[in-house]
């Protein structure tokens, strides 16, 4: 049973740099074939200033700059008990290599299903770049397997 008093908990803003090598590594790991995601010359030819971050990379940035409040740890949730339930993205502006993205995550909701066999934690993350512009937001739902 999760402690609902954690709803509304907001992380401290955490900054993470978008590294070109990390983008290339991600492109390789995901079998990306579109060269704008790993070849800077191709990216520039397509009108980008440098390598763009692909559509799910904001989630990776959140993993690379973990929640300093450690909400899951304080809730007593072990990493072996969690599954990803849902993920949504609302992009606002392109993220590029060299950007510094600042993330703020809020625990939006918590609820249980199946008589407490599964707990759900809903987290909303807002992201801004080094110019203070919103680059988008995302919502993730984590499922905790109990018992």
């Amino acid at each position: 049973m999760l402690d609902p008093s954690f709803i509304g908990t907001v992380t401290k803003p955490r900054a993470v740099e978008v590294e070109k090598g990390q983008l290339r590594f991600f492109a390789n790991a995901t079998g990306e074939t579109n060269p704008i995601y790993f070849d800077e010359t191709a990216a520039k030819a397509a009108g980008h200033p440098t390598l763009p971050a692909p559509p799910t990379f904001l989630f990776c940035l959140a993993s690379l700059a973990p929640d300093t409040e450690n909400v899951l740890g304080k809730l007593g949730v072990g990493i072996g008990r969690i599954l990803h339930g849902e993920q949504r993205f609302t992009p606002a502006k392109a993220i590029y290599a060299g950007d510094t993205i600042t993330l703020t995550t809020r625990v939006a909701d918590m609820y249980e299903k199946k008589g407490g066999a599964l707990d759900f934690i809903v987290q909303d993350t807002d992201a801004t770049n080094q110019n203070g512009e919103s680059v988008g937001s995302m919502r993730g739902v984590i499922v905790v397997r109990n018992g």
Partner: protein
Amino acid sequence: MTITYDSVSVGDALPPHTSAPISRHTLALYCGASGDHNPIHVDSDFARSSGMPDVFAHGMLSMAFLAQLLTKWVPQEQIRHWGVRFTSITPVQVKVQCTGKVIEKFEADGERRVRLEITAATDKGQQTLAGDAIVALP
């Protein structure tokens, strides 16, 4: 070829996109590349001690394949909003088959948009992700 609003109809399918077979090596690479270091995806001893029969793929790896389905169709900048539910676990050794279709055409915020239904499934026919995307079209 540029996809335009007038060139698509409700019911149209996007060109499908299929991943390479997901090996344990794929999961090790994705672990490092994504920053998601949860050992349940790469350490079979840890996975079994957590009550799972084996390691399994990161849901976000399949979501990255769905992103490729979209970005093969239109430039990424045209994606307005998208998301998925992870409906079942993706085991190792499967290919992930991504499909999408146009389910609505509409105007919003002064631009023309389509709503897509998107799904990922294993090559054994098990659906793994189900979601939707709103994409602006010229």
